[in-house]
Amino acid sequence: MRRRRFLLSALGVGGALVVGWGVMPPRSRLGQASMFATDANAVGLNGWIKIAPDGGVLLAMPRSEMGQGVHTGLAMLAAEELDVGLDQLQLVPGGHDAIYGNVALFLGSLPLHPEGTQPGQEGSPARAGRWIVSKVARELGINATGGSSSMADAWEPVRLAAATARAQLLGAASLQWKLPVAELEVRRGVVSHSSGSKGHYGELAKVAAATPPGPVRVKEPKEWQLIGKPAPRVDLPAKTDGRAGFGIDVRLPGMLYAAIRHCPMIGGGIGAVDVDSALKLPGVLRVVRLGNYAGSTAALAVVGRSSWHAQRAAQALQVDWHQRPAGGLDSAAILSGLERAARDAAASGGGFAFHRRGEAAPALAGAARRVEAMYRAPYLAHATMEPVNCTARVADGRVEVWAPTQVPGSARALAAQVAGVPVDHVTVHVTYLGGGFGRRLDIDFVGQAVRIAMETGGRPVQLLWSREEDTGHDFYRPAGTAFMQAGLDAQGLPVALAITSAGDAITPRWMQRTLPQLAGPMDMPDKTVSEGLFDLPYGIEHQRMAHVTTHHDVPIGYWRSVGHSHNAFFSESFIDELAHEAKQDPVKFRLALLSAMPRHAAVLKLAADQAGWGAPLAGGRARGVALHESFDTIVAQVAEVSLENGRPRVHRVVCAVDCGVAVNPGVIAQQMESGVIFGLTAALHGRIDIENGVVRQRSFPDYPLLSLKDAPVVETHIVPSTRPPTGVGEPGTPPIAPAVANALFALTGQRLRELPLTLKA
C-alpha cells in the first residue's frame, strides 16, 4: 500500500529496523538548555525555559509571528504552567534543534477521514498513522510555521517543559528551605511558604538546574489562570508605534539595497542585457544575474544605495527576455483542461480515491434522480502586505540571513548551498512577518538574497521585491475544478455523492523546493488536493471522492487553508444545491446528515441560532450558511448578503468555531474575523490570469483586496471544549465563499459555481 511505503521510505530504512525503532518511545522534546542562546546570566532548565536573574522567564520561540498570534499563544502555555504573568515572560528565538520541529504539521498531512477520528471512534489505522508520523516527525525536527498547527503542536511539549521547570524551581526552594513542596505557593514567579520563606525564580534557578524535577504533571483545566481567558497580544505595543521589526525593516551598518526584475514569462530566461542602462543612473552599484532558486524564475537584481535607487534602475534595465522552451503558460487553457480531466475521470471511475464508502457508482446509476455540477476556482496570489524580501550578508565564509520566513531551517540549508558553506556557518534571524498566508513557506527569495550578497564585497544587502514582482512571481494557490454528482432517492434525499476533482498537487513540488532531502522519500498522495472534499462529515450512504493530479508549470504553493480554500466552496455550495433539490431548509438538511457527527452539528446549530437563522431579515438581504472542518477545527458561518449596484455586499457574518480548548478566545475571534475577510477577498475579487506565460495582474488596482468600507461585521461564538486545542489561523477562511454563494442563491436564484463570485446581469 502506498501510504505505508511512504512511511518506510521516508525513514530511508528497511521494515525490520522500523519495527524495532517503532516500539521505542518517541524522542523527547524537552531538550537541554544549550539548545537556545540567550545572555549568559540566564539559567537554563531545559530546551524551552531559562530563568533570568531577576526572576523573569525566557521562552524559546521557534514559531514565526505573522499575525496569527502564535507568540502570545505559546507564551500563555508557558506562563500558565510556571505561574508567571505574560509580562514576566520574554521570547527568545528557538535554535535549530529537532525539539523545535513541528510534529503537528506532519500529523496534519495524514489523509484521515473525520469519521475515523471522532471521540471514541478513532480506528486503529488512524491511531497507528498518527503514532508513526509523530515519531518520524520528531526525528526529522523540521521547524515550520503553517498548517494551523502551532498551538496543537506546542500544547504538550511547551506545557510539559514549563511544568518541569516549575517542579525544579519548587524542588530547589524545598531543598533550601527544608520545607515540603506541597506547602509551597507560587504567584507571579515568587515562591513562598506560610512560615515567611520567600524567593523569586531568579534566586532559585541555579539550584533548580541541579535539582531533578521528580514527578511532573501539567495543570488540570480547573487550575488554569490564563488559558481560556482573552489575553492581550504580546506583540501589539510594538505594532502600534512603528517599532515592530519586519524583514523589510532590517538596517545594518553599510547595508545596500537590491531590487529585482524577473523574466516576466514564468519559467523564462534572460538573454542580452544592457547593463549600462541601469549602471549609468546615480546610486547604482551593480547588476547581478540570478538563476533559479527553489522554484524562482530567472531574474536580474540591481544593487543600489537605497531601495528607490535600485528600483528605478531595475525599471530602466533593457533586457531581452526569453520565453520558456515549452511555450507560454495559459491559465484559461489550464482550467479548461482541468474541467475535462475531472469530467473524464468521473465517467471512467478514475483519479486517486481518497475516500470510498459503499458503492457510489451503482448507487448513482440506480438513483431515482441525479444532480451534477462542475465547479471551478482560479489561481490566486498571496499578496502579503509586506512584499517578498530578505537581507543577507556573506563574509569570511559565513552567511547571515534576516528573513521573514515560515521555514528557518530550510532557509538556512538553501543559504548554505548557494554560498557554498557548511550549514553551521549560516545564521538565520527570523523577523516579524508582514503576513505569511503560506507565501513565506517558500524560500526562493533567500537564495536570491544570498546570491546577491556574494557580489557586494561582504556588505549586507536587502533584497526587496516590488509589488508588481510580488504579484507576478508568486507560488500561486492552484486552480482547481470538481465535478460533483449526487444520486437522490424518490424523496429527493441524497443516497450517493461522488466528487471528482482535478488540479496540481502542491506538496511534492514544495518538498522539492524547500525540503529537497525529503522530496524523494515522500511519495504519499498529496492530501491537500482533496482536503475539504474527501473528508466531508455528512452521512451519505455511498461516497467516492477522487482526485486527478495534473502537472502544469505554474508555480504553486500553500495559500491560507490550502485545498480547503476552494474545495469548501465546491462541497458546501453543492450540499446547498442538494438541500434545494430536497426542498429542505439548508440548516435542517445538513443537521439530518450529521447525526453521527455531534461536534459538527453543534457548531452548525450555534452559528444558526446566533445568526437568527429563519428569522425575518431587513429588506433586500438573504442568509447563506456553510459548515467546514479544516485543520481539525470546525467552523460554521452564516453570511447576510444584499446587492448594491448589482454586486454582492456582505453585511454580517456569524461564525461558530470548535477548536478544542480555547486557549486565547481573543485571538480566536481575531483569527475568525481575519479568515472571513481574507476569504471574502478571494470570494468576491480574487483571480490570477496567466497569458502567454505572463501574469496579467500586477498590483492592488487589478488584484483588489476587500476594503474597510466593504468589510462585514463578524461575530464569533466559541463552542466550549476540553479537547486539546487545534488551529485557528486558517479554518475561518474556507466557509465564507460558500456561505456568500449560498446567500446569493437565496437572494437571486443564481447558483454561482465559479470563483470569484460574479452575478449575471
Partner: protein, 163 residues
C-alpha cells in the same frame, strides 16, 4: 535638502537623496525611520501613509521636493510606549493589529481623520480609511477609531471653528 520630521529639522545629504526621491525612501533608507512601510509604490495601499500639515499623504508617491518646509509626522512621532497617543491606546484596547504591517499607515490615516473630525460617522471612516489590510483588521480599526475619537473629544477641546 531640509525636512521637518516629527518636529525635528533633518538635513539630508544631497548625495544620498534627490528631489524626485519619494519621501518614503528618504524616511526608511536614509533616516532609518522604518515604521512607515512600502506596500505598492503607487499610492494604492496606504502602508506608507504619513501626515503632512494635517493631511494623510501617501509618502511612496510624494517627492522630497514637495515636502520641503512642511511638517511631516510619521508613526514614530505619534506616541511612545510610555506615553501612547489616544489612537494607540484604542488600538491596544481593541487588539487591532495582526501581522501589523499596515498598521502604521492605518494609524496615521486615522490621525488625520480625527484631527479634522472628532466625531466621525461610519461614512466618514469609510471615506478616510482607504488603507488596505490583508489580515482583515478593518472591523477593529473602525471600532478603535470611534473609541479614540470619544477619548480625544473628552480630553482635548476641539479646535475652534470646527465641528
Amino acid at each position: 535638502m531640509n525636512l521637518t520630521i516629527n518636529g525635528q529639522a533633518q538635513t539630508l545629504d544631497d548625495a544620498a537623496v534627490a528631489p524626485d526621491m519619494p519621501l518614503l525612501w528618504a524616511l526608511r533608507d536614509v533616516l532609518q525611520l522604518t515604521g512607515t512601510k512600502y506596500g505598492c509604490g503607487i499610492a494604492a495601499c496606504g502602508a506608507c501613509t504619513v501626515v503632512i500639515d494635517g493631511q494623510a499623504v501617501r509618502s511612496c508617491v510624494t517627492p522630497l521636493s514637495a515636502v520641503q518646509g512642511r511638517a511631516v509626522r510619521t508613526i514614530e512621532g505619534l506616541g511612545t510606549a510610555e506615553q501612547p497617543h489616544a489612537l494607540q491606546r484604542a488600538w491596544i484596547a481593541h487588539q487591532v493589529p495582526q501581522c501589523g504591517y499596515c498598521q502604521s499607515g492605518m494609524l496615521m490615516a486615522a490621525l488625520a481623520l480625527l484631527e479634522r473630525n472628532r466625531n466621525p460617522s461610519d461614512a466618514d471612516i469609510d471615506a478616510a480609511i482607504t488603507n488596505l489590510c490583508r489580515c482583515g483588521t478593518y472591523p477593529r480599526v473602525r471600532a478603535a477609531i470611534k473609541t479614540a475619537a470619544r477619548e480625544w473629544a473628552g480630553a482635548v477641546p476641539a479646535p475652534k471653528g470646527k465641528a
